[in-house]
C-alpha cells in the first residue's frame, strides 16, 4: 500500500468531471477528501489523500496529469514558520494526527508535514501566527 497527500487544482472546465469517482472506480484507490474549495474564479481546489497499490497510485496520478489537473504535494501548502515559533506548545493538543509533537526533554516542538492533514485547527490557536496553510 502506498499513500500520497496531494493538493489538486483544476480549471473551470474540469469542475464537472467526477474526478474522485474515477479515482475510486477506475483506479481502485482509497480517496480521503481532506478539504475542498471552489473559489469565485471557479477554480477548484481539492486536498486529498490517495492510497492503494503502488502501480494503481501511479496510474491514478497519470490520469490526473492527462486531464491537466495541477498536482502538488500537500506538504508544500503547509508551512511551519520556525523563526516565529516560540515552542509554547499551545497548538499540540489541538492536532488530531500528532503532526505537531513535543520533545518532552527540551520542550521544543517539531512539525511532521507528512502527518499533517491540513485541518487548520492549529492556525487560529497559534498566538504567534507561526503556521500557515496556503489553500
Amino acid at each position: 500500500m502506498a499513500k500520497r497527500r496531494l493538493v489538486l487544482t483544476f480549471p473551470p472546465k474540469l469542475v464537472e468531471e467526477p474526478i474522485t469517482y474515477r479515482l475510486i472506480k477506475d483506479y481502485d484507490l482509497v480517496v480521503n477528501i481532506l478539504r475542498a474549495k471552489i473559489s469565485p474564479e471557479e477554480e477548484g481546489r481539492l486536498m486529498i489523500e490517495l492510497s492503494g497499490e503502488k502501480s494503481a497510485l501511479k496510474r491514478g496520478v497519470d490520469y490526473l496529469n492527462r486531464l491537466k489537473v495541477n498536482i502538488q504535494p500537500l506538504a508544500r501548502d503547509i508551512r511551519w514558520l520556525e523563526e516565529k515559533c516560540t515552542h509554547c506548545t499551545v497548538c499540540v493538543s489541538l492536532c488530531p494526527t500528532e503532526a505537531i509533537v513535543v520533545d518532552r526533554n527540551s520542550m521544543k516542538i517539531s512539525f511532521n508535514k507528512n502527518k499533517c492533514i491540513a485541518c487548520g485547527a492549529c492556525i487560529p490557536a497559534c498566538p504567534y501566527k507561526a503556521i500557515e496553510i496556503l489553500f
Partner: protein, 398 residues
C-alpha cells in the same frame, strides 16, 4: 553558612561567580546536598516567557515646532490608541489596546490581527511607527494636529513599564461546556478536549523564591532582552494564597511590577500576540537572579516540577463567574508530560508559556552574570509576604 550580595558581586566582578540555572540546581542539590550546593553556587537564574497582558510602554516623543499638547488629546500609534493623560508629549501604549475600527468579537471569534503588543514589538524591532494625534490647542501649545513617523532611536525616553508580570503559578484551564470557547488561556475545546497551562514551573522566578526572600523592590533583572528592575509588587499580588508545605503556592499568588529601558530590549523577547476571540497582548521574557545567600534560599531554588501544583479550572463557567472552584490539582511534571487526568479522563495539555524559551533566557542570563556583565542588586524593600495579610480582593459593586 551564609553569603551577602556584596560578596557575590565581588566574585561576579572577578569572573569567579558560580552560576547555574533553576533547572541545573535541582540535580546539583540532589547530588551534593543543600549544604554543599549552597557553598558552591552563588547565583541561580530563573526565567519565564509568556503572555503578560498588564504590560506597556511609556514614550516621550519630543516636541514638534510649533508645539502640541497631546495631554487631553488623542494619540494613535499604527492606528492603536495610546493613553495621553500626561504632560505634553508623554504617552503610554498598552499591550491589549486595539484600533478603534477593529471589529473585535462582532464576528465571533474575533481575529485581532494587530494591537498594542504588536506595535510594541514593531517599535522595539526598530520599525517606523505612524503617529497620528489631535489636540485642542492652547496659547503655549498652539498646534492641533500631528501626523508623523516615529522611531525608537529618536525618542527621548521609551520605557517598558509593566504593572503585573511573572505570575507566581497559574490555573490550568479546561472547558466543561459543549462548545469551543476562546479565552486568554487559548482555544479550549468542548467537553475537556484540551487543558492549557501557563507557567515555566521549576524555572519560573517567583516559584523559586516562594516567600520573596530575595526578589524585592529594586531587584535588577533581565527584561525583554535588556536590563530592568522590579519596582513594586504587581497588581493582584496575593501572597496569602494557599501554599503547600514547601511554601510554594498552588494557586496564582505573587506578581511583579517591572520596568526597563525599551531601547536596550529585543523583539525576540517582547512579542505581540493574538488570542482569537479574546484580543491581543504581549509575550514578555523575564529572567531573575536569585543570590544563594543561605541554605534555605538554595533549597527553595531546587524546587522541581513535580513539587509545584496548580488547580484545574473550568473556563466555561467557574472562571467567568468568579467562583473559586477547582476540578483537581496537577503538578507541572504531569502537565509537561502532555497528558493529565481530569475527572478520570485523559486530557491533552498545551502551554502558553514557553519552557524552552524560558530555559534559553535562563542560559543567556547565566552568561551575562558569569562574564561580569550583570551585577545583582540588594532590594531596597521587600514585597508583601504571607504574614502581612496583603491579599487580592474582588470588586464590591455599589
Amino acid at each position: 553558612m551564609s553569603k551577602t550580595i556584596a560578596e557575590i558581586n565581588e566574585k561576579i566582578r572577578k569572573g569567579k561567580a558560580v552560576v547555574v540555572d533553576a533547572e541545573e540546581i535541582i540535580d546539583l542539590v540532589e547530588e551534593k546536598g543543600v549544604k554543599k550546593a549552597t557553598q558552591e553556587v552563588d547565583v541561580v537564574t530563573t526565567a519565564t516567557f509568556g503572555p503578560m497582558c498588564s504590560s506597556g510602554a511609556y514614550l516621550n516623543i519630543g516636541h514638534s515646532k510649533p508645539k502640541i499638547k497631546l495631554g487631553g488629546g488623542r494619540v494613535y500609534l499604527n492606528n492603536i490608541p495610546a493613553y495621553a493623560g500626561f504632560a505634553a508629549v508623554d504617552i503610554y501604549l498598552g499591550a491589549t489596546a486595539l484600533p478603534e475600527d477593529d471589529p473585535r468579537n462582532e464576528v465571533f471569534p474575533g481575529k485581532f490581527e494587530y494591537g498594542g503588543g504588536h506595535a510594541i514589538q514593531d517599535l522595539v524591532a526598530g520599525k517606523d511607527i505612524k503617529l497620528v494625534a489631535s489636540a485642542y490647542g492652547t496659547d503655549c501649545y498652539p498646534r492641533k494636529n500631528l501626523k508623523t513617523l516615529i522611531n525608537l532611536k529618536d525618542l527621548n525616553e521609551a520605557v517598558l513599564f509593566n504593572p503585573r508580570n511573572a505570575y507566581q503559578n497559574y490555573n490550568v484551564a479546561v472547558n466543561l461546556s459543549d462548545k469551543t470557547i476562546y479565552t486568554y488561556m487559548g482555544v479550549l475545546k468542548a467537553n475537556m478536549g484540551n487543558a492549557n497551562y501557563c507557567s515555566a514551573g521549576q524555572l519560573s522566578p517567583l516559584l523559586n523564591d516562594p516567600l520573596y526572600k530575595t526578589i524585592g523592590i529594586g531587584s535588577r533583572i533581565f527584561l525583554g532582552g535588556g536590563t530592568g528592575y522590579v519596582i513594586w509588587q504587581g497588581t493582584q499580588h496575593n501572597p496569602t494564597a494557599q501554599r503547600k508545605d514547601n511554601d510554594v503556592p498552588s494557586v496564582p499568588a505573587g506578581t511583579l511590577a517591572v520596568i526597563g529601558d525599551l531601547k536596550e530590549m529585543s523583539s525576540e523577547y517582547l512579542v505581540g500576540i493574538t488570542m482569537p476571540g479574546y484580543g491581543v497582548t504581549l509575550t514578555v521574557g523575564i529572567g531573575i537572579p536569585i543570590p544563594i545567600l543561605n541554605e534555605e534560599i538554595c533549597r527553595y531554588t531546587a524546587v522541581k516540577d513535580e513539587d509545584i501544583w496548580a488547580q484545574i479550572v473550568d473556563y466555561s463557567s467557574s472562571y467567568p463567574l468568579g467562583k473559586k472552584e477547582s476540578l483537581g490539582e496537577v503538578n507541572y511534571a504531569q502537565l509537561k508530560s502532555g497528558k493529565i487526568l481530569v475527572k478520570n479522563r485523559d486530557v491533552l495539555t498545551g502551554s502558553l508559556s514557553s519552557y524552552s524559551k524560558a530555559k534559553e533566557i535562563a542560559t543567556i542570563f547565566k552568561e551575562w552574570i558569569e562574564k561580569g556583565r550583570f551585577l545583582l542588586s540588594e532590594p531596597v524593600a521587600y514585597l508583601p509576604g504571607p504574614d502581612t495579610g496583603y491579599s487580592f480582593k474582588p470588586l464590591k459593586e455599589r
